[in-house]
Assembly symmetry: C2
Homo-oligomer: 140 residues x 2
Amino acid sequence: MQHQISVITLGITDMPRSRRFYVEGFGWQPVFENEEIIFYQMNGLVLGTWMKPALEADMRQPGLNAPGAFALAHNVPGQADVAPVMEHLIAAGGRLLRAADAPPHGGFRGYVADPDGHAWEIAWNPAWSISADGHVTFAL
Amino acid sequence: MQHQISVITLGITDMPRSRRFYVEGFGWQPVFENEEIIFYQMNGLVLGTWMKPALEADMRQPGLNAPGAFALAHNVPGQADVAPVMEHLIAAGGRLLRAADAPPHGGFRGYVADPDGHAWEIAWNPAWSISADGHVTFAL
């Protein structure tokens, strides 16, 4: 099968609060929104923020937990970009999980939770290439 | 900021069990693996499966829950592809969450959890385009 993830859907509980984090914090523009879901066109996939009861009903999994055992990452062009992006996300309703520092495997990163507790790593990884349209390629 | 997600990292608890689901179930090939993490190069981003204690330590968030309040999706070319892909994932250690049917908003989809409970929607969505290299574009 294609190495392909089409959508990441995050369960949210307060649409304006979540929208502020993604639109003002990350500066991302919705490609669709109504009262229960917002879609953002990302780098080869779509990010959705969907009211949690609707997501749970669609998945047939009531009572899902946040934060879950996962993290999303957004990479920035330079080490000096990490902390300012994290501060910007916190100003838009995010919550600091881990201040930025250098992990043992190299680079520089910190973690901020979105208003629903979903974790975002903001990372600088000099080994990975990022194209002008945001496509990220793994490398060591 | 770029509309860019660089990595999705899933916390896992049994590496061989998780590897079987992704490598045999989805047929995806690792670009890197050691005893605690596997990376898969996806459509413009990277999927990581990382032993949960290490992810929790990196995030400074002990005791993360699975399943979390999120779902990942993989889109298939036709409606008739949905059920066979789900059966293949279940044969590789997945667990059925919702049998495939037609949602109110169109298309066809079902849900399978990976061995750690992370939900995958297997979807056919005729409105969304998918390029030969797996880049997915939102449309109504």
